[in-house]
Point group: none
Chain length 260, copies 4
């Protein structure tokens, strides 16, 4: 505790003093641009990894960056989503998973949690779709590799779940909201973003491939800018499904293989 | 009741007698190809409108063809979905709304139901996303027109909800399942299907625009065959959102305007 | 899908064209006389087996034609029941089970479903009373015979469950509603109806034995006022029905005694 | 989005590069010392205000830093608490409210939220105890002052709620866990901590008054063993703190009496 208290004093004499005006302005209201949903894990610091300033990220954190489908839970997730979008008018949502996620490890060993951590076990049912995708489709994976892909697939599951919320449905309908799936790698400091065009997680670059607000996960909105990219022809994709589901490949190689 | 009993006898001496072998075969097992989710409404008869034979459609019917998001309800919907896909290996799901839907009328007058029909009122919360889309985006609509668009938007909401089910997520991941949104018009006998490319409901024709199994609502799977169609360029779509959100337009005109 | 689309066109040019006026009338409102609750099974087509016209049957379909007791679930069943009776003023409810029911097979092997189909397993808990009746009273049955009786007993369980709904209770109290238990046999095309007087399932005939509106349909309590009606003696009734009734649930006689 | 992506790159070339070894170590496991529960508000950055390093704080964030009582919700809060304490063996929990909290503003105008933000409205029921404390005891407060005290009282409510969790109860019983209530002031950068001895929020100082592990943190019950410690007399303590403590919740004195 002493260390924390020293830290508080250091914050006051350091960062706070040099940003006094910012904090003064913020005391009159917040205007964050992004709803950042990530894990409670101590190794993930949203403001640090994005270098976002105080006031920029509205943050939801729980074990496993999980968003229960609308109506499936009455915890804080739905309320924070609603507040972020309806009250704060946020237009970008990021679901950020991370490597070595303990919640995802738990998901892969769910039965062992029932007795020892019943609340965690129950909570992870909102990631059951992730578990089934893994069980049905990635039976050959093990260890670190299995965990990495689970983390990535879970981000996609939670993006699906997000889209059942009324306020999300409505804003996506208006093309007034974009959803983003991220995976942060603790050991490399890198962030990969889900790319709907290639159906893969790719390195986040300044030059993003789908201009906003066209970049839209909403299943009813086809990615209209697809022609800018070399998409494999449908016939080829039909003939060889392995190529058209690239998420299996790059993540197998450690998730980073496709970085430049 | 007498009429029903006469009907049963008529069925036995008529249809059953002439299809005895079919029923004998079916008694050994069902192999339906389609999971058909529609409203309890007496005016909707799935086998009649599709002219499907006995044994072809596995059917879920409730008020409003609603599928609560995974975990949000413990009624029969989830179980029937799971059974249809996991046990019967069905590869096509159709959510079929219909014109003049009483459940959707109820949704547009939700407050009036709380006292008189509490179970209906509670059930319609699983269509809350539909209600919000309508409230936020179609404020100018009234009467029949409002109801028609509500029916269509609700089909899309339920397609979103469907995608939170583990077995659905997994089969979509494998590209081994397709989801379809239909609206049946009682007065014309027509069926419109949601078309992800144009983001509109269009007349169902033999010549469908997106070949299966490429036709896939899964938001993480871009419609790969999009180049076969004249998709408006991204810039134009950006500049004029009205053109790129055609669902607002054709349904305004009665839902059938775009038929050939 | 092509077959379905052809069917839709065939429906339009055929049945719809020749019944245009009926559909036009129906577009102004539905007035079904019967709430028909049956299984999602593709081999059961309510309108076909009853030869009911479009507009006559308000239909609930789920796996196992199960109606959870009031308050036990928040799925679509309660809402559809409420809507059927409170809004549409329907006065007859039919719960229709069927031979070779996969859900009932599942009920007889519940433990095997927990892992593979958790939603089905959970759903079947609303038929737990059926399971216990079978376990406690029909220990000597096996195979097809066991399944047949389970199907019939489950119809009775669901009739009990139905009677826990406020609107059902109230309308029964007013003698303004009748409940019927049916079993449809796929291989013979026959329908048996539960008969409260003999406490047995008997062939449905025009000459029904209990004049409507019968009150107190309570399936496990033989109608106490049976004296008031010219009811044939039990033995005679048994003798009459045995030939035309392939399955019975001869509960009065303690199980199978009366089976031929 | 561009700004965020620039931030990610800046993080990699800057902080990450200079702390590469720390991140490498963290990739093998997290060992945070503190469970930090705070609001989603973009103006609150836990690592910044405590100057804690990556890996030190396990963080739960939702609207209003609310922890529903055990069993009252099935959201992510309980699971994250359980994981933090049972799996990570964390021994200190901080609930940190903050000035100008939008969720607390909402709590003070709850009725206005029912229609516009139903999920927020529902979520705030877990802070109903805060609302009642305010209504019953602080009727004379208004505006900013009312909001400030609400924020502080809500921290105490949530500390109560925390203590309903089995794992929390058990660890407190073992004197193996301490709970702390904080209020962070955006405009001054200061943090006040709830002090059980004076039943007041006081400036956090290196010289803390109750040696850890203090048992019985029960916020509404002044520590009865206070005699054992050299506690300065209440009046003196008040005098000391008044200058450095812009907000107080001088509950002992019945509300506002001691405010200057």
């Amino acid at each position: 505790m002493k260390k924390l208290i020293d830290g508080l004093q250091q914050f006051q004499t350091g960062y706070f003093s040099s940003h006094r005006q910012l904090f003064e302005e913020l005391s009159h209201g917040q205007h964050p641009r992004i709803l950042f949903i990530t894990c409670s894990d101590s190794r993930v610091d949203p403001n640090l990894i994005t270098q976002a300033e105080v006031g920029e990220l509205f943050v939801i954190r729980n074990a496993g960056n999980i968003i229960p489908p609308f109506g499936a839970a009455n915890g804080g997730e739905g309320a924070a989503i609603e507040y972020a979008i309806a009250a704060l008018d946020i237009k970008q949502v990021i679901v950020c998973g991370h490597s070595h996620c303990g919640a995802m490890k738990g998901l892969l060993n769910l039965s062992s949690l029932e007795d020892t951590m019943p609340l965690v076990s129950n909570w992870l049912k909102h990631a059951e779709a992730t578990r089934q995708v893994m069980r049905d489709n990635y039976g050959n994976l093990e260890g670190e590799e299995l965990l990495e892909v689970t983390v990535a697939e879970n981000v996609l599951t939670q993006l699906e779940n997000l889209q059942t919320y009324p306020i999300i449905r409505s804003r996506l309908h208006q093309r007034n909201l974009t959803l983003h799936g991220w995976v942060y790698h603790i050991e490399s400091g890198e962030v990969l973003e889900y790319d709907a065009v290639s159906h893969d997680f790719i390195a986040l670059q300044s030059e993003i491939r789908t201009p906003e607000p066209e970049y839209n996960f909403h299943p009813t909105c086809p990615v209209s800018s697809s022609k800018s990219f070399p998409v494999p022809p449908a016939s080829q994709s039909k003939g060889n499904h392995r190529q058209s589901v690239p998420i299996q490949t790059p993540l197998k190689n450690g998730g980073l293989a496709s970085r430049n």
